[in-house]
Subunit: 556 residues, 2 copies
């Protein structure tokens, strides 16, 4: 009997070798083994190819024994290093959004790659620096403290062994599902263990609208200055440096994009059910450098805003190190190494969570999760449309609208020029007034061209950031769903299982609550900003026209 | 030696058989005889064909004897009745403007044709009604009181005879030049004679800026109501009737388009150097009937405005009869017959003019005329561009701008729809506000679509009216220039010749002065109207956006 999997999320093929799959569709797998986050199989339309493993759930009934990896051939060669499932699926999601037409999501999920616009990496690479650490790529496998210091190749072998040995004890056989990779499963099965200091404890409290992250008692924000160009090696290498000034220290630190990138990788690995905001894109093609730098800075400001306003992310050690460590290179490296050796990543993250006294009702949680899944899907679809519309509107204003007003302005000036051939005294005032009206219309054309930067680009930046979050959530939902499914399979077998599932649910719902609050805050303020700008814009036009109108009175 | 003519005005061929000619170009004539206002010849590029006779001046030196009309064959058959030169050239001019791109001049020079949109002509035709009159077509030949009661065929013969007999006594051999046809030449040569009552006297006075028509001591205006549909012959025939109410009588009279048309023909024949405003177009194609009726009414209102504000036209008998004669059919026919038998048409019109005591300086007159010629040419060219631009701008606002704002509105509503999937209390206000913003943008799209009717269409209507005037002026200039040239040829020969030339110059300059004053008045008020409308429009948009902005506050 063929190996089957149920599709959890729509995936649209973007590259040769990939196939599109649709939610709830049953696909036939050629093998249950993934290659770098991808599975090979055939969809219901008979197309064969690759799709992201995290987008499907293998149907257990069909599995009689685990197949091995030998003989698995991929028509597609993926050359990048094995990467975290959430990365792979997020990336596909982003590409999907892009393909749907808005001119591109400007945020990406970075893995601390050195492939920066300034390609000079002045610190030793994390892998070399911390041989027993987890490398710059997040682990492929749930991290447990009982299995320290594995290398990537070692990992792969152990995974396969583990898959074989534990297939019969309620484990998910899909070793590459986000549930497994995030550490959710390992935690649920009680395999996580680490020492949690009080300072590392993260509280979920019961709020008016359900579980929520306990508020940061010391909230702060952080400004990002215009980047400055720095050089090293006697000018041979150059890079851009951003001055960051957090309000709780008021001391400026300088960071390069690669530092943000490194931090991002730490956060993704550290927090399985938290939506870490994506960094702005590495490279914007077809843009002038100045525009690109300005756009990236705006993206980083949004990113920073979401970091500092997240109760968990804002307080975490690695972020604080990033924000407060000065120019002392030794101190920087020390903090860097500490973060890379952090034990409370993946499965162990859940150990740090304190939940409200009363456990959540499973059915209610399930219903909330279903609702949120629908929500994110719709929001993702609709903001793609909004973004495309807004970008097109901006383009029309900068090109078409401007041109139309300028053409009208020019034609009024032509009229004035013809009228100026009549030199009689009673004609002169009118001629000037019409010429002035022509100028006014040309100015209005310029206003239209300049306006989108003020009130449409910011919306577009915001939508980009949210597309990043929306790309994170399928994995987060998947982790919670994995836990819930597991618990439902063995109803009253283990009280601990229930407790641990409750922890995952609380964290997930707290994160969802945080997402909604932030979304409402951001969209309200951005829409207000947009409308205020538009009002100012139309008032400016009105003032210009009133000015022109007055010229006709002077003429009497 | 070939017969040559100098081109006075640019003419662009519009139809097969016609050729384009350029100002100051020398063209070779195949015959000096015109056919219905057209001459046949070859331009400097070697193209052979027809061009308007009134656009050229035959060079006298080349004429050894007048050729006869026999053997003249035209590749183009003009089926309409022989028409006034100013009509022919004006018409060409109009067509030129049309071809240059604005979507059409909406004013035409009518000859009282029955070819109305309601083709029922309930009065007896003027020709049948007034056998000794001048018919509904203006005369082809200068009218002198010594040659009464000629028919059209008779005319033709007499012209040819006269051309032969008077070729040596300073007469213009081009019997079809506007100068000749308008009666200008006949008047200048002292051939005009008629009894002029005091009431018919038209005074040119010396104003601050040169000769001007004496102001109408009893100025009035006239309103035009929405037309009503009338039927006759038990509903078999229907026509539109306009209610006109002049302010000096306050009594409404009802007139049909054909009555305007008839009046127009009388005025054109009556006043050789006055620019009679063209009537709005007979038929607008591709428009809904309602739009067409509304556009024609607006055109008639402009026309009426120019009629009542012209000191000479406003006071003349035929216009007063048109405005004041009530439903008494007998009285109407009486006045109609009187107008059609009016002796003070063409050459005799100049007999009615009283000039200022001091004659004008010929050189100054010539320079003013040159300046005005340049002015009208440039104004004609430039308003074609303005009209095209404005019409395109109107179209863009009604289609493109509307669509863009509505698309933005729809995308905001999509965003609100996605957000509505989150039912939490703190989200609801934002969702409503965003949906409202979407509605606001859709409304703004509608504002853009509705606006051109308020502030661009009126400019377009005004430009149409002025294109009619500009089409009249080449003929008016031609009459004055013909007189001036004749006087310069025989410097001190005849004091009377100088006096009569002075009368023509005074009338022409008074008309030019009137044109400028009206132009400055009309364009000032129309630009003010446009700007006020635009200001109101942008204020309306601003108010809508402010309204939307408030919704975000309610949400707190």
């Amino acid at each position: 009997m063929a190996l089957k999997a149920k599709v959890l999320y729509d995936f649209h093929s973007e590259n040769p070798g990939e196939i599109s799959i649709t939610e709830n569709e049953l696909v036939t797998l050629f093998s249950e083994e993934e290659l770098e986050g991808w599975l090979e199989g055939e969809n219901s339309r008979g197309e064969a190819g690759l799709f992201p493993a995290s987008y499907v759930e293998i149907i257990q009934d069909h599995i009689t024994s685990s197949t091995n990896n030998n003989g698995f051939s991929s028509p597609k060669s993926k050359t990048q290093t094995p990467s975290h499932a959430s990365y792979t699926s997020s990336d596909s999601q982003s590409q999907r959004g892009l393909g749907a037409g808005s001119g591109g999501s400007s945020f990406h999920t970075s893995q601390g790659s050195d492939d920066d616009w300034d390609d000079d990496w002045d610190d030793t690479s994390p892998a070399a620096d911390a041989p027993q650490g987890f490398g710059s790529s997040p682990p492929l496998y749930p991290v447990t403290t009982s299995l320290p210091g594995r290398g990537s190749a070692q990992n792969q072998q152990q995974q396969q062994q583990q898959a074989k040995s534990s297939a019969t004890v309620g484990r998910n056989l899909n070793r590459f599902s986000t549930f497994v990779k995030s550490g959710g499963e390992a935690f649920l099965l009680g395999e996580a263990s680490a020492f949690v200091k009080d300072g590392d404890r993260i509280c979920v409290v019961m709020g008016k609208h359900g579980p929520e992250w306990q508020e940061d008692p010391y909230p702060f924000t952080c400004t990002i200055d215009d980047p400055t160009k720095q050089t090293k090696f006697k000018g041979m290498k150059s890079y851009m440096s951003y001055g960051l000034t957090p309000t709780h220290t008021s001391i400026q630190v300088n960071r390069r994009y690669k530092h943000f990138d490194w931090l991002y990788a730490r956060l993704v690995e550290r927090f399985p059910v938290i939506s870490v905001p994506h960094l702005p894109e590495k490279q914007a093609t077809g843009r002038f450098e100045e525009d690109f730098i300005s756009k990236r800075r705006k993206g980083l400001i949004w990113w920073m805003n979401h970091m500092t306003s997240h109760p968990v992310l804002a307080r975490c050690d690695v972020f604080q190190h990033f924000l407060t460590c000065g120019a002392d290179e030794k101190a920087w490296k020390q903090g860097k190494r500490k973060a890379e050796r952090d034990e409370l990543v993946g499965a162990n993250f859940f150990l740090t969570i304190s939940t409200p006294a009363v456990p959540l009702d499973l059915q209610e949680v399930e219903s909330k999760m279903e609702g949120f899944k629908t929500f994110t899907k719709r929001m993702d679809e609709n903001i793609v449309v909004v973004n495309a519309t807004i970008n097109e509107f901006a383009h029309k204003q900068m090109a078409g609208f401007k041109k139309e007003y300028q053409k009208v302005g020019q034609s009024f000036k032509l009229l004035a020029q013809a009228f100026e051939l009549d030199q009689q005294a009673y004609s002169a005032g009118l001629n000037k007034a019409i010429a002035y009206t022509g100028d006014a219309y040309e100015a209005i054309g310029d206003y239209f061209a300049e306006q989108p930067r003020q009130d449409l680009d910011p919306i577009s930046d915001l939508l980009d950031l949210y597309r990043g979050h929306l790309a994170n959530f399928p994995d987060i939902i998947h982790v919670q769903k994995g836990a819930l499914t597991k618990v439902k399979d063995c109803p009253k077998q283990e009280g601990d299982l229930h407790d641990r599932c409750n922890i995952i649910s609380c964290a997930t719902l707290a994160e969802i609550q945080h997402f909604h609050r932030t979304r409402v805050r951001d969209f309200r303020s951005q829409m207000q900003h947009h409308l205020r700008q538009q009002i100012g814009f139309f008032q400016k036009i009105t003032a210009k026209l009133e000015d022109a109108l007055q010229r006709y009175d002077d003429d009497q």
